[in-house]
Amino acid sequence: MFDVLKTPEDRKAFQEQVSVADKGIHSFLELDATKKECKNPSGPLAFIPFGVKDNIAVEGFHLTCASKILENFVSPYNATAVEKLEAAGGIVVGKTNMDEFGMGSSTDFSAFGGTNNPWNKECVTGGSSGGSAAAVAAGLVPVALGSDTGGSIRQPAAFCGVYGLKPTYGAVSRYGLVAYASSLDVIGVLSKDLDLTEKVFNVIKGQDWHDQTSIAYPSEPAKPVKGRLSFTYLEGDLGLSPEIEKGYKALIQAIKDKGFEIKGVQVPSLEYVIPVYYTIATAEASANLARYNGIRYGHRSKEGETPMDLMEKSRNEGFGDEVKLRILLGTYVLRSGFQDQYYIKAQKIRTKIIDDFKNIFSSSDIFVAPAFPSQAFKHGNAGLTPYQQKVADKFTVTANLTGMPALSIPVGVENGLPVGMQLFANYCSENLLFDAARELSDVFPVADAPEAL
């Protein structure tokens, strides 16, 4: 409906209609379609409205990370990915909701209230890029940026029935992305339109002198190892809900029916990915979040009598429970005497996981796995506990630990909720992910949420 915003009147109409449509969903934390102009009317993304997750800097918009500690912070500059979007003609119309600092799988851990799944408002959107996924699924914007540290693009994309790309680590500059776990974080794209997802990725990727870990992305597309796309899929007892099991089997069958080679593999190191991921992610988070201390920016407690007292009180008032939990965990595993046992050990197992996946991609192009063991769960106590949510990240975190790209694709609707699966590929082989998804898109067309614009 709002694929482009050519005139000021378009933007005004957009603002009015989207703010009404978003009332029952709460995908946007800030919505202002009148703030930005199209900077390149002949660019590849000219006049396309974008939602941007609220941990990615957009000049003149708030940058809250859905945390009270940054509630009033307005970004003084653009993230490189946003700069590139604007240079291609895209228009940022608002900032989307998320779990505080990206820490969660539901978006219910937003300090400003959760987001409702457009398919069923009693259910969560997934997270942490839940606002971006919901905004796209509800048809409020054709495309949105998210970030993915352990599945934060792919799992909400699966819960909301849209495509979600987690690029190769370093393919997109992290400059202007608020750091959660620096060795895992990556900016990516959510959309119902596969071609648009690819186009946006091609615009935002590339090396950036602001980010030392950004990579020079190869100009030649990756080629299939055997001339034609070949697949492997994760087999074994995966603990899937009946709906996900059904979708997973349907996807594998569709790949066979299309005449592609596909074989099952077991990946024993997957048993360890959750402790490895949470050790590394929380360790890095505890260091990254040390900067929020009430001194230079963000929330400052009114109570502090000494600088130390001020820091402790500001942090306690500003951070939510899940963030505190992860800071404590990360601080604990980095304490002297425990480092070898946890952090170093986790980094060594990470090496093993990378080796396992390099091995898989030496003889096939695409690795297939579910995005999450269940469909979108209910808000609150009827859903999963924070601990159960963490354990269920087992299918997504591997792509962050290895740094390899992965794409979440919708494979249908069961009981009124979308079912999503993941395709993984080798480093800098995003083009193969898009090729594979395109091959499957006639079998699994994207469905529209009930009241989508």
Binding site: P76, G170, Y278, L310, R315, L328, K345, Q347, I349
Partner: protein, 92 residues
């Protein structure tokens, strides 16, 4: 995790916890640490730790003067300031 261990960790993390928070958080932290301990089972002999997947050569930009107007806007974000200085409670 014992509560005194939690308080030591919280102090290192510059977090002031209330009694009630300490109760719920010590349970949640213990549950995860226990889960982490399953990493003991895996043999990693001979494996190097991966700190980062894309560390290549150190890259440096040209040593050039560039214009930046960010300084004032950065200081504007401070919760309390006195002209160009960010103020804090007294240190001594």
């Amino acid at each position: 995790m014992q509560k005194d261990e939690l308080y030591i960790t919280a102090s290192l993390a510059r977090l002031e916890l209330t009694e009630k928070e300490a109760d719920t958080l010590s349970q949640a932290v213990s549950q995860m640490i226990e889960y982490f301990s399953m990493m003991e089972k895996i043999d990693v002999t001979g494996l190097e730790p991966t700190t980062h997947v894309s560390i290549g050569e150190n890259r440096v930009r040209k040593d050039e003067v560039i214009e930046s107007s960010l300084a004032e806007r950065m200081i504007e974000a401070a919760p309390e300031r006195d002209e160009r200085f960010i103020t804090v409670p007294h240190i001594l």
